[in-house]
């Protein structure tokens, strides 16, 4: 049954109550590794990983203002579109390639996932679960594109263009021959161990190529 998220008590986790996937990711990443964060925002996760796990941190972010803030906090980030930059990297250029709650915003999610497991020895994919029960209820009840805490946007101005569920990702992993090394399911800050496709808001997968 629900257990609390690991990496408790560290200030980073306390500051990021809304992003419990960050806590999971920071727990997964081994110290001293090389990490690429796709859609790194203002570099908060990478800065924490660099300081606390001694990782060599790199980030890609499409928003110029966020890139500036990331660099200003000492993260090697650059402006770029994750749909476009990954093909530039050689195979296994990183130990981990992280995609945190952005897969549903990419134009070509399949291509992105394939590139992630090519460029990284391992990929960490965190995504919001469209199978979460309030989403299902909202659709059933209102008959309109669901709006929930997790998906607060109207359909016409949502950045989310490719919705997926836990089952969808499992199926994709099977089809692409990906090994799921670890997976975590979260509801708020609590771990979900039962019926994740129904009860999890966010899923975090650690995968690699077979």
């Amino acid at each position: 049954m629900p257990a609390t998220v690991p990496v408790q008590g560290k200030p980073f986790v306390r500051q990021l109550l809304g992003r419990s996937d960050f806590a999971i990711i920071s727990d997964i990443v081994e110290p001293g590794t090389k990490v690429l964060d796709l859609g790194c925002g203002d570099g908060e996760l990478l800065e924490w990983l660099a300081e606390n796990k001694g990782v060599e941190a790199r980030g890609v972010e499409i928003s110029p203002a966020k890139v500036q803030r990331a660099i200003a906090r000492g993260v090697s980030a650059y402006q770029g579109d994750i749909d476009e930059v990954l093909p530039d990297y050689p195979d296994h250029a990183f130990d981990y390639v992280i995609l945190s709650q952005t897969l549903q915003e990419t134009r070509q999610p399949l291509k992105v996932v394939r590139e992630m497991v090519r460029v990284g020895r391992r990929a960490i994919v965190a995504f919001p679960n469209f199978g979460h029960w309030p989403v299902r209820l909202a659709l059933l009840g209102t008959g309109r594109a669901p709006k929930t805490k997790l998906f607060p946007h109207d359909w016409y101005d949502s950045p989310n263009i490719h919705f997926l569920t836990v089952h969808d990702f499992d199926q994709l992993a099977g089809k692409e021959g990906l090994v799921i090394e670890r997976c975590y399911f979260l509801s708020g800050r609590r771990r979900v161990t039962f019926l994740p496709n129904l009860l999890a808001e966010v899923a975090v997968y650690l995968v690699r190529r077979r």
């Binding site: 110029p64 890139v67 660099i71 200003a72 000492g74 993260v75 650059y78 530039d88 990297y89 250029a93």
Partner: protein
């Protein structure tokens, strides 16, 4: 911060062209203090018309340095933390040996007998200065425009001596458009009857040609938007058109003023030599490709471009970033929003300072 320009002379320097220059002196200034481990030195590289006086106030003239908004206590290049060095480039006219210097063999200024120099030659002379100062490795090299070219050259040619490189508003190779503007400037100088094949040092310098060259330069340093903001179509000290060819518009007045000011401080032959060095700059010269050129690079990079810079457009910075990414090197990059065109790196420095400060702090954390 009151500063003084110093100079050091070396026996000779061998140039890329095969020529040798002897002796050669280099003018430089330093700010802040070198730490005991000599690990906090940053070399600032000036742009086309800059000089060694990058920061502080000159002892004699009271003039602030050209990057005084960026170098100093608490500024982006914080002189409370770093030992900052800036030197005048080889071929220049502000204290370092250039075409206006006396050729010891003839007792007269070199003029056009001065050997053609390259960005690589400028950087080689800087390595001699750094040796002279007893510094093994620079924490960073940084500069905009032609200064950015030198920063790239440092990272490519002396990878063991540069921990971090900050090329700003620059390119890995001069484009045909950039060469074209330089050529118009050179032709303006050489078309001036006072130029006299470069032998004007005992008479009247080619001020008209040099002023026109500078006017063209200034146009390329601004943007359409910054010119509209700064001048509009405003008339200069008149209510209506003069219906003659005296100054009508503010922008004409500005360009003429800039042109005439430049003539008082810059040598026309130095203009020819330095623009030629820019035009020859192409990191692929030696190896055939940028990928090969960056192969040995170990520095981390902060590449900066500006949205309205049409002289050194962002695509040129992005090309550098892409090649570094392909080589899996450590690179940070951002295009900063600014209306100031190419001049932005000198005048619109608030955001630039934030990224430089953060980049240097993390470089320090990893290396000092």
């Amino acid at each position: 911060m009151t500063v003084e320009t110093q100079a050091v002379e070396f026996d000779s320097i061998s140039l890329e062209s095969g020529a040798k220059l002897s002796p050669v002196s280099i003018a430089y200034e330093t700010y802040g203090a070198l730490n005991a481990a000599k690990s906090n030195a940053i070399l600032i590289l000036h742009a086309f018309s800059g000089d060694a006086h990058a920061a502080g106030i000159t002892h004699e003239t009271g003039k602030p340095g050209w990057w005084d908004n960026t170098i100093g206590p608490g500024k982006a290049f914080d002189t409370d933390k770093y030992f900052v060095i800036c030197s005048n480039v080889l071929g220049g006219c502000q204290g370092t040996t250039g075409p206006a210097s006396i050729n010891p063999q003839t007792g007269c200024p070199y003029g056009m007998s001065f050997p053609v120099i390259t960005i690589g030659d400028m950087v080689r002379l800087q390595t001699m200065l750094i040796d002279h100062l007893g510094i093994e490795r620079l924490l960073a090299v940084a500069g905009g425009s032609m200064g950015g070219m030198q920063a790239l050259e440092w990272a490519v040619s002396y990878p063991d001596r540069v921990i971090a490189a900050i090329p700003i508003a620059t390119t890995a190779r001069h484009s045909p458009q950039q060469i074209a503007f330089n050529e118009v400037g050179r032709q303006a100088i050489m078309a001036d009857p006072d130029w006299c094949e470069g032998n004007y040092y005992s008479g009247k310098p080619p001020g008209r040609g040099l002023a026109i060259a500078r006017m063209i330069g200034h146009i390329t340093y601004m943007s359409d938007e910054s010119m509209r903001e700064k001048f509009g179509r405003r008339l200069r000290e008149k209510e209506k058109f003069g219906f003659d060819f005296s100054v009508d518009f503010e922008v004409e007045s500005y360009l003429r003023y800039r042109g005439s000011q430049f003539v008082t401080r810059f040598d026309a032959n130095a203009y020819l030599y330095i623009t030629k060095a820019e035009d020859y700059f192409d990191l692929t010269n030696a190896t055939g490709s940028l990928t090969a050129a960056f192969q040995k690079v170990t520095s981390r990079f902060l590449v900066i471009s500006f949205s309205s810079d049409w002289l050194y457009p962002s695509y040129q910075s992005e090309e550098i970033v892409r090649v570094l990414r392909r080589a899996n090197r450590n690179v940070a990059y951002c295009e900063l929003p600014s209306n100031y065109g190419h001049d932005a790196f000198l005048v619109d420095v608030a955001e630039q300072s934030d990224v430089i400060r953060g980049f240097l702090a993390s470089t320090c954390k990893e290396n000092i």
